[in-house]
């Protein structure tokens, strides 16, 4: 555990895990937390994260017991039970997820008992303890998923040989999760698979129920959800395929398609045709701008990433393998568990570049800004792939910047994604437009 002071957190506290429940349509998180807890987590994962909220339930209607001093002294489970019963009357939901925070966990409130008492056949009430002193929102995400696996799912009567469950992405912590999953779903369908995604538009509890039927689970991330995949293997015998990133650009997209084709014994001709089609489209649009891109001799070749491992691996692979850029330093900020650090380090080095570069695991995203006090990028400019936290220092030092992780920024993110070849074009549009702004500096 990192016990040093942290200046810029790019995660929310454990309660932020409720955003994973919010990403599942008609799943209502019920908070057994202090009055300010939702405000704290929504600052990182909601409004300032591309103007996002839940879709079935907006952030402004998430119920909470607003745990106060009386609850600390006498215990708050009775009020929680009443709140859950009222929620069942007034909210149209398929699933309720009780989440509690630090104070309720410190005083030992038994939310499991409340969930058990309040559960009815068609109204499952689950629970996830999410105290911030145990972990951050990425940890909280895994707690919520584990709650679903352990408390809700039942073994399937049959396995669907074409169904693949998609895990690894952490909704909202990956600000482009919704657009990415839409695009990924299309790709998997095109390959002949039946993707089962539980987050986002028109998914919800029906898809959650189908999880045990899958032929395999696909984990598209450096390390997140590997624990959940293991748990699903233990409970339902479902194997999993771990692909270490959500691909951006032609190289990784092609690798994902071929990996899937090999693993699931898919039609190889169809897979190669899809790769060809995606590459053709990508390079068509890139070629149209090559003279403009390469005409700019001052475009920075080196880059810094200041984000979670998922964004870092995806962006680094694309920037190096497809754009020919060079990693300078990579800050991994979501508190990767120690047992995964070496694996993530190896993933970052698994690129078409043999040179050395720094990888720093620290939950303090402020280390980058601190480094600008001693490192001068005024001549040899550098690109920064980070979060809205980095906006002030990059503007001050006129560095090229692309936001790739939460908090994404004060804007509307819509269906934006950097996934695949189409997403890679969006990335290039953002990257080169920002670079041009900084390098040309029209002075107006």
């Amino acid at each position: 555990m990192n016990l040093t002071c942290s200046e810029q957190q790019r995660t929310a506290c454990g309660v932020g895990g409720l955003y994973t429940a919010l990403a599942i349509e008609r799943c209502l998180p019920i908070m057994h937390c202090g009055p300010g807890c939702f405000g704290n987590v929504s600052a990182t994962l909601g409004g300032m994260n591309g103007g996002q909220s839940g879709e079935t339930y907006l952030g402004s209607v998430i119920p909470s017991t607003n745990f106060c001093e009386d609850d600390v002294v006498f215990g708050g489970t009775e009020r929680l039970r009443k709140l859950v019963e009222e929620c069942k009357k007034y909210y149209d939901a398929d699933m309720f997820m009780i989440v509690d925070g630090c104070t309720a966990e410190i005083v030992g409130d038994d939310i499991e008992e409340v969930a058990s008492v309040c559960t009815e056949n068609d109204k499952p009430v689950l629970y996830a303890a999410l105290p911030g002193f145990k972990g951050n929102s990425v940890w909280g995400h895994e707690q919520v998923l584990s709650a679903i696996v352990d408390q809700f799912l039942k073994p399937a009567e049959k396995t669907n040989p074409r169904q693949v469950n998609v895990f690894g992405i952490v909704p909202f912590f990956d600000p482009m999760w919704a657009g990415t999953l839409d695009a990924l779903e299309s790709l998997l369908v095109h390959l002949g698979l039946e993707p089962n995604i539980i987050y986002g538009r028109e998914k919800g509890i029906a898809n959650v129920n189908k999880i045990p039927e899958a032929a395999f689970n696909l984990i598209l991330a450096p390390w997140t959800d590997l624990g959940v995949a293991e748990r699903l293997r233990e409970r339902f015998g479902t194997p999993y395929l771990h692909f270490d990133n959500m691909p951006i650009g032609p190289t990784e997209t092609a690798r994902l398609i071929r990996t899937l084709a090999d693993y699931a014994d898919l039609d190889r001709g169809k897979a190669e045709a899809l790769i060809h089609k995606e590459e053709e489209r990508f390079f068509y649009y890139m070629r149209r701008s090559y003279s403009w891109i390469f005409g700019c001799k001052n475009f920075p070749r080196k880059f810094i990433v200041n984000a979670g491992a998922a964004a870092a691996v995806s962006v680094t692979r694309f920037a190096v393998n497809d754009l020919g850029m060079i990693p300078y330093r990579i800050y991994i900020t979501e508190g990767v568990p120690e047992e995964y650090e070496e694996m993530v380090r190896a993933q970052l080095h698994n690129i078409d570049y043999d040179g050395d570069f720094e990888i720093i695991f620290s939950e303090d995203g402020g280390l980058f800004e601190e480094s600008l006090k001693t490192e001068d990028f005024s001549i040899r400019k550098i690109c920064v792939f980070g979060t809205a936290w980095d906006l002030v220092p990059v503007k001050k030092h006129k560095l090229t910047f692309v936001s790739v992780a939460a908090p994404y920024g004060n804007c509307m993110i819509g269906s934006r994604t950097y996934f695949g070849c189409e997403g890679a074009l969006r990335f290039c549009e953002d990257l080169y437009a920002n670079a041009a702004d900084n390098i040309v500096d029209p002075g107006i």
Binding site: E69, V72, V73, F74, G75, V107, D109
Partner: protein, 292 residues
């Protein structure tokens, strides 16, 4: 004109060791000496002041807080034997909530409403549950509330462990204006070796014994009638012991920072005594030189 100084003391000790009995008799004896006394029970069981009120329970500060939300602290004060003001902090039902936070809430409520000053008290005596298991139970010894701490302990090792833990708590807060240790009230001391164990412990931790209180059937009889020994058997030998304790507490002015034993020291010390007790109970004769 500045108000008179209120002498605030806290009595700690392992659960069941006789804290409430000792505290109530101390309150009663101080009251008999002419002082205005408040006894403040800091135990969710809320039974500290029973024997000052003929065995009856009183509504606790936290009961009132739970029912009304906002509480006039005076509603939680009830008069007992000889006009002693009785207050019980109260707390949650067993197994839920946080009793430590309950004590913080109750103590702060009375402090904020200047109750002690308004009643022109001479003594406030806090009777605090058990070991110093969390910050809530340390409230009376921090934040400048109590000035002197006394711990009730028998020669039982578990009671001494609890006392040693309390000493650690006092030591921790001693540099930030917290209460200091007045001494140990040795309870249920009926044999010479029990007295020796406590004497040895206080010597090693650099404190003192305030009084040796023997086990007595008079105390049991008094409590069964819902009274303190001071009230039920004022001329008994046991009442005399409590009056002497009250006199010493009243004369006590300088408390100190104790020197608690660390885990290994305490274990070694207990093992050494266990060995000696075994020898005593098995009738083994040791020379003075062998007797450490």
């Amino acid at each position: 004109m500045a108000g008179k100084e209120i002498k605030q003391i806290a009595i700690y000790g392992k659960g069941g060791i006789g804290k409430s009995t000792t505290t109530s008799n101390l309150s009663a004896a101080l009251s008999d000496m002419g002082y205005k006394v408040m006894q403040f029970g800091c135990d969710p069981k809320a039974d500290s002041t029973n024997t000052l009120r003929d065995g009856s329970y009183i509504p606790t500060v936290l009961d009132l807080l739970r029912d009304k939300g906002k509480v006039d602290a005076r509603d939680a004060i009830f008069e007992g034997y000889n006009g002693i003001y009785c207050v019980e902090a109260g707390g949650p039902a067993p197994g839920v909530g946080c009793a430590g936070r309950g004590i913080i809430t109750a103590v702060q409520l009375l402090k904020q409403q200047n109750v002690f000053e308004d009643l022109e008290l001479d003594y406030v005596i806090y009777d605090v549950l058990g070991d110093v298991v969390c910050g809530g139970f340390a409230v009376p010894i921090r934040e400048g509330i109590a000035k002197h701490v006394f711990t009730v302990s028998s020669s039982d090792f578990m009671a001494i462990y609890a006392a040693n833990n309390l000493f650690k708590g006092i030591q921790k807060y001693s540099n930030s204006g917290g209460a200091l240790l007045g001494g140990v009230i040795a309870n249920s001391v009926t044999s010479e070796y029990q007295r020796s164990i406590i004497d040895d412990f206080v010597a090693r931790t650099k404190t003192q014994v305030m009084q040796y209180v023997p086990r007595s059937i008079t105390v049991t009889q008094s409590e069964l009638s819902g009274k303190t020994t001071i009230e039920a058997a004022p001329h008994s030998e046991q009442a005399k012991v409590y009056r002497e304790l009250a006199k010493r507490v009243d004369e006590h002015t300088e408390s100190v920072t104790p020197s608690p034993l660390d885990a290994k020291q305490l274990r070694d010390w207990a093992a050494e005594w266990a060995d000696q007790i075994l020898a005593i109970e098995s009738g083994e004769v040791r020379t003075a030189a062998e007797h450490i």
